[in-house]
Amino acid sequence: MGTTDFEDRTAGEDGGPFTLSRRKFLGLAGAGIVICFTVGDWGLLEAQERRRDYPADFNAYLRIGEDGRVTVYSGKVELGQGVITALAQMAAEELGVALESIDMVMGDTRSCPYDMGTFGSMSVRFFGPALRGAAAEARAVLVELAAERLAVPKEQLGVENGVVFVTRDRARHVSFGELAKGRAIERHLTGKPALRPVASWTRAGRPERRTDARAKATGEAKYAGDIRLPGMLYARVLRPPAHGARLVRVDTSAAAAMAGVTVFDRDGLVAVLAADPEKAGEALGAVKADFDVPPAAVDEGTIFDHLVASAPAPQDVQRQGDVAAGERAATVTFEHRYENGYGAHAPIETHTALAEVADGRATVWISTQTPFANQQEVAQALGLAPEAVRVVTPFVGGGFGGKSGSALQAVHAAKLSKALGRPVQVAWTRAEEFHHDAFRPAAVVTVKSGTNAAGRIVLWDCKVYSAGARSAEQLYDVPNNLVRTYGNWYRDSGGQHTLGTGPWRAPGANINVFARESQVDVMAARAKKDPLAFRLDNATEPRLRAVLAAAAERFRWTAGAAPSGRGCGIACGVDAGSYVAMCAEVAVDKATGRIRVKRIVCAQDMGQVVNPDGAVMQMEGCIAMGLGYALTETLRFKGGTVLDRGFDTYELPRFSGMPAIDCVLVKNDAIAPQGGGEPAIVPVGAAIANAVFDATGARVFRMPMTPDLVRQAIAGQATRD
């Protein structure tokens, strides 16, 4: 069964183990000043983060090299979200060096300290403060050393571009590199370091081009599949036609007879290997296999009823007031069910790994969001101690949650390399990527809500099936509010899913916000109120009101009750500590049901902004990727058989579907940097659904909002009228 249990996969790593001894740690760093820091010391982690078991062990370190260059080691990885630049900016800011003098080493289990994984919009939010603290302390150490070297009190020294100088006599100076030369000074941080206030930022807080742009624009950037080792073999693994299928018999004789082909068949792993991937593919084609496929009980049409029928017991997310009192207080009540099918991650880089196992040690290059979890996984598969396994994470060609947790391709590559004594690459084909994906689970959200005569929301009774709590919390001021989850995106409570499921960009939040913001629009329309005004009437949170106002202003929102025929919709949400509001304008072809999104404006308050250009890039990506889940992307399946196995039928957003996109960063320097990789994707579906309603008077309750569903909604509207 392909079901993946994301939480359990990472839970084993809680709090370590940090596999390097301190001595080894310093040895690897070489000469220079090493700052070790522990996140836990500073109480920088939110309670929420502790619940997620973010490690309290050594989290990172940085090195001031003899050449004056600064190397930052981070267990976080770069998968396109741009933390390679933002983290470097934060370190440069606190140290007082040029951004260009920073080298980032990311996701290498040998040289980087333990990290739980790169997901949840947490790199800048939670790793960032720790890194800043370390850099601030390093600067303090360097200034002390300079004071001794220059025989000047440290209060009379300044720092600029990696040089410490006497403020009244700039000719007297010494560089970080000179200070670090030949010295290995270790120092633990005690107490919370003084961070540079945002008002005095010079390296952080300004838009920077991606530091990885040149490597990626020249083809020099290396991904897991680009690593070449002498004698390496390319493997293809025999796959079942469906999840839950059982191999009955296999005949590899024809493949084994092919020149240059090696067959592996042991412990349920059947693979063929050759010196080039095409030969391996040919050999796999020559393998004859029979599988028993279990009967299909559900498909993409019946899944929603199935999820409700098979739901586990509910858990309270929020409970305020009393829903019975809310029902009595309401003059009108509304009850709707919202649905979303399975979604694929579909990164352009498929899951890939290269393993070299020899002499009781393994090095594995993996396209992954969780190198440390994979280190444990590979070690376990090989029967090695975790210290004997090194995971290296080159650039990752997109993840979106789909490369979190188990890295089956790395386990297979490692097992094959160990057995054959040669380096082995396993790179999934596109069809394998679809088959083995840990999909965003299909989900259902029901909401019963009510308003009083004054147009205030007085009742909210929300049930979330298989999407979990993220972004399900109430945004509005509702006195009688009950939000419950029935199962979660990360755990199959038993018999719910026939496919693997896991996190997908802002897991669960997209359907939860679609449900809430659609339902709010339904109520606003019944009250004949402008959707923006209705929201503001029911919300007092200042950050929420600020982003709503900013989005409406940039969009030139015209007040009026929907449906106005104009095709404009608004939605808002909070995710990863950031507030977002989004306005969308659509045109709907009523005959075909086709939705064309003409423009989207998004306003986001993410607290202090480290790299405004990077932040906007993430917002743009969220919006454009969100078009997919909103309009076209849903996985067709029958039981454990994935029917969409390529981009011919599973439709990603394209150039021709792009609206004009305009992003606004709402300044809020009063709070630390919040999440940036996911928040702007959460309101996309609702903003479009509300715009479709405004255009047509018809509401679509299921995503993706395909032309068929839009036509049906319009037809239903006509019937009701």
Partner: protein
């Protein structure tokens, strides 16, 4: 096996290889040019795009026999004499990549487009690039970079 001779990034190249093998895998394997990426192997994503005799093609579909005697340009051949191609410069300037895995294919499709239409309209850019997929959804910046590169010529 047979000898396939062609021009690769401006240099005469010949190698003994089965003419039925796909250009993508020979580039990435025997020739060590890993800038060209595998995304789907079915001509559906564009990550493997290279330019052959001035036309953008999917190297996962092109055989080695197909390129016999032809002129092949990959992402590694865009820069000349140490100077980046204007498309590369503008992709960097506009931040037209996130994970970067589709970037080579985007650049080569855009390069082929500009060979055919040196000053394309936005609509022509969208039409010319529409079969190249970018999952990070950086489409806006890719279009802007191509416009800037074409305008700056």
């Amino acid at each position: 096996m047979g000898t396939i001779a062609f021009t690769l990034n401006g240099k005469s190249t010949s190698l003994d290889v089965d003419g039925r093998r796909r250009l993508l895998w020979v580039l990435r394997g025997e020739l060590g040019l890993t800038g060209t990426k595998y995304g789907c192997g079915e001509s559906q994503c564009g990550a493997c795009t290279v330019v052959v005799n001035g036309e953008p093609v999917r190297s996962c579909q092109v055989t080695m026999a197909d390129v016999q005697g032809k002129d092949v340009v990959t992402v590694e051949g865009l820069a000349r004499d140490g100077r980046l191609h204007p498309l590369q410069e503008q992709f960097i300037e506009h931040g037209s990549m996130q994970c970067g895995f589709c970037t080579s294919g985007m650049l080569m499709s855009a390069y082929g487009l500009l060979l055919r239409i040196p000053h394309p309209t936005r609509e022509q850019i969208v039409a010319g690039m529409d079969d190249n997929l970018c999952r990070c959804a950086n489409h806006k910046r890719i279009v802007e970079a191509i416009e800037a590169a074409a305008g700056g010529r």
